[in-house]
């Protein structure tokens, strides 16, 4: 058997070869180009016995006495394809992290660890990877903190590529849930001239070199990055009975917390002709359940990686949530009673009228059996102008609801919206906002209907089902104060 080094052999007609491409011919392999398979396709084993070709990156490299074993991964699954080649191949370019094309025969594997393996006839290094400079090392398990330093490379680790597959699947499941339930997807805008929704600190937008106060600014008015698509969805609620949006939202909060980002993704839905807050909690719960079941179903190995190595035992928490027929519902007033009666020492006050803080939310979740719990009917004065007045007393509340979940606290927030023109106008007048929101009042002037909606923080959702402690580890390119890499 001879080993032939085929320099400049990259089998691409219109692409000129690159000098670092070197191939190892195990035996002469002059047949026409064999079928190209993705790793996930090869692992299914339908092509056992056939000549195939697989492209990917080397995730492990293990020379033994008679054979060399490689694991090749192309991102199509967590599992890599085992490649077996005769020992003796020792070209320095064939390293952990390099890109290869392997041609050979797909065989049933003699070992139970994998269903198939690829008996290599030719291994070609397409792109080298200097193991000294490459920040990830073979056989080392790097922490999420460590890989976070390399936002341009961390997708090449098992953990982060699993996260990205789960994120993609969860995204698809969200769209699928809404589509099959008759919701129309609306692309709400990122740039908005609404400046006072009360949802947090804003980012302002202008071409560089422009003073924001200038009359001649780009949009003629000050504009901001959206903090929520809700008001724009409410526009649509005057013509469609179910709408949703799913996209980036922004907060200029100077926070380094494990739960906050300056740019994060939010799912928001708005439902017309609501009869009570249960019209919202039902959709929130169904969405959570449907998406989680879909992710567990379609990303079993990827989710297992998190539940085994990142948050051991977390799977039970997820299963407990799914087992519950209906998530418990308590009012804010009941929640305050629970907090006041508890022996826990809280940093923040638990008096009626105070906002629930993360410490309170986490306590309430534990109190209810460590499962998701809805808290409804918050103090009217805590909620933004659009929340519907319950017109109760002596403790005046709004028809608002939060979904609190294990590990994370607040996952969703929603409310029925004030659809009654006179009440909404009074509230806007009190807040000094009537002029800016005349268009919003128009929605109540012309064919107003009872409606409501909610937002779900997508990154918090991923933290919740995977048990990931830091929100920066569930988004491809995290943005937060003092950090915007790439």
């Amino acid at each position: 058997m001879t080993f032939q080094t085929v320099a400049r052999a990259f089998p691409v007609s219109s692409i000129s070869p690159v000098s670092r491409c070197v191939s190892f011919c195990v035996r002469r392999f002059c047949e026409k180009n064999p079928t190209k398979l993705r790793v996930s396709e090869a692992l299914l084993g339908a092509e056992v016995g056939e000549d195939v070709r697989v492209q990917g990156w080397v995730r492990s490299y293990r020379p033994q006495k008679n054979n060399l074993f490689l694991h090749v991964n192309d991102g199509s699954s967590l599992k890599s394809l085992q490649v077996v080649a005769p020992a003796g191949i020792s070209d320095p370019l064939l390293t952990f992290g390099c890109a290869v094309e392997v041609k050979g025969i797909l065989k049933k594997s003699p070992h139970s660890k994998q269903p198939v393996e690829l008996e290599a006839k030719q291994i070609q290094v397409i792109g080298e990877c200097n193991p000294v400079d490459f920040p990830f090392k073979i056989k080392e398990r790097h922490s999420l903190e460590y890989i976070r330093q390399f936002p341009h490379l961390r997708c090449r680790t098992n953990a982060f590529s699993s996260l990205l597959r789960i994120r993609s699947e969860a995204t698809a499941a969200i769209h699928s849930y809404f589509k099959s339930n008759g919701f129309l997807q609306i692309h709400t805008p990122t740039i908005t001239s609404n400046d006072c929704e009360g949802a947090g600190e804003l980012f302002q937008v202008e071409p560089p070199g422009t003073t924001f106060a200038e009359e001649g600014s780009f949009f003629s008015v000050p504009v901001y990055l959206t903090v929520s698509g809700q008001l724009h969805l409410e526009v649509m609620s005057g013509a469609f009975s179910r709408v949703y949006t799913f996209g980036p939202t922004f907060r200029a909060e100077n926070s380094q917390s494990r739960r906050h980002l300056a740019e994060f993704f939010m799912v928001e839905a708005e439902i017309s002709f609501t009869e009570s807050i249960e019209d919202l909690t039902k959709v929130m719960e169904d969405l959570f359940r449907s998406v989680t079941e879909s992710v567990l179903d379609h990303c079993e190995e990827d989710v297992d990686l998190f539940h085994k190595h990142v948050a051991p035992g977390h799977r039970d928490t997820v299963d407990d949530a799914l087992k519950k027929t209906r998530f418990p519902v308590i009012t804010y007033t009941e929640a305050i009673d629970v907090l006041k009666r508890s022996s826990e020492h809280f940093t923040f006050p638990t008096d009626w009228g105070c906002d629930l803080m993360t410490e309170h939310e986490k306590y309430l979740v534990k109190h209810c059996g460590n499962i998701p719990v809805f808290v409804t009917d918050y103090p009217y004065d805590l909620k933004p102008f659009y929340a519907r007045d319950n017109q109760d007393h002596p403790k005046r509340t709004a028809a608002a609801v939060d979904l609190l979940v294990p590990g994370v606290g607040e996952l969703c927030g929603g409310s029925l919206r004030e659809e009654r023109l006179s009440l909404l106008r009074s509230r806007l007048q009190e807040c000094g906002l009537e002029e800016n929101y005349s268009w919003y009042l128009d929605l109540r002037r012309f064919g107003s209907v009872p409606h409501g909606g909610f937002g779900l923080g997508f990154e918090r959702y991923l933290q919740c089902i995977l048990g990931v402690d830091n929100i920066k580890d569930v988004i491809p390119f995290p943005r937060f104060s003092h950090s915007c890499l790439l």
Copy 2:
């Protein structure tokens, strides 16, 4: 038969009634609440003979001698449900544009115009709509220009609600195409510190009151709204062989054109292990075909509205494109020859090395039979630093490709990317960008593979298949210079 006015009768337990809700009881109707149907469900006719309840907005109001005819629409389809009630109902609140709940018996319609109609037992006005103030008038066909003035209300017109249904369906079809072809969806960031991709004018982002030059700015570095997710997708191309993104992108171009927006949606895909530019054109064409077929299939009536009333005859153009087995491919050099030989008078020069302008693109499309056409291998100097050098001469070109389409001109732009470290480094040095893009060079240092990708302007796609002349009419909330309404 008596007519009973049931004020404060909105049948909602936890929602207190609103005084403007008035209902008309045609006959006593005390049975338990009948099944709630969406208009699209009612039109299917499965519940003929049953008591049902439908909620929506009145799109037409036609009192006749014996009967009153209403059309009620809830956005679930272009078609409204015809409601028939005894004549004599003349409450001033029951007007064009008001919101109603109708209870009654679903019947087979005696007229061929609609399959079913709802014989009303009770019609309740949920939200009134003063016809004097409401900017849309019954039976008037308002122009797209007119309704554009009312971004908060235009979804209540037939044309714009059709557009939104088509947009939602096209979005779903795009996700579906990529998912079923093994592409992973990546949420590329909106805020980025990349400032020089050469794709156009940038918007800068900061919390209000901050000077951009300040050391202590929010992100510590100047940040911008993304002009493309490409570079972030290329990060992922080092671990996944097929990725895509679909989200908002931004240009601070001071343009009032019918083809440009400051915020628009872009579909971008990146494919690893490419062998030639055909790996890109195949995906671009398949995507166009698959999404268009899905839209024509699922939104037949909505699309017909555009092809009948907005762009008569445009359907033939769309069908011609779909009929073509493969879209023609010409090189830039061939395109220049065609332009030079033509007798057309162009405003801009057509010399080799000049960029193709919209007038040229539209001419080339016509020249090829008014179907989509790919133009490949543009002058190297016209393309950004990442485009792959074809290393040809004497006319040096890059492996770039645009898809030009009828009516619109450029719909997609893409290229193979320079994956060869030494060539890319030289180019970045020439442009003075090496320091800022050291992370991008890293992608070529560690397991680089031949790859390429493209972007498709989603609004232009909608213009192209619907024949809509102005891009502001295919996006829910258009943003352009001097305009950011809502």
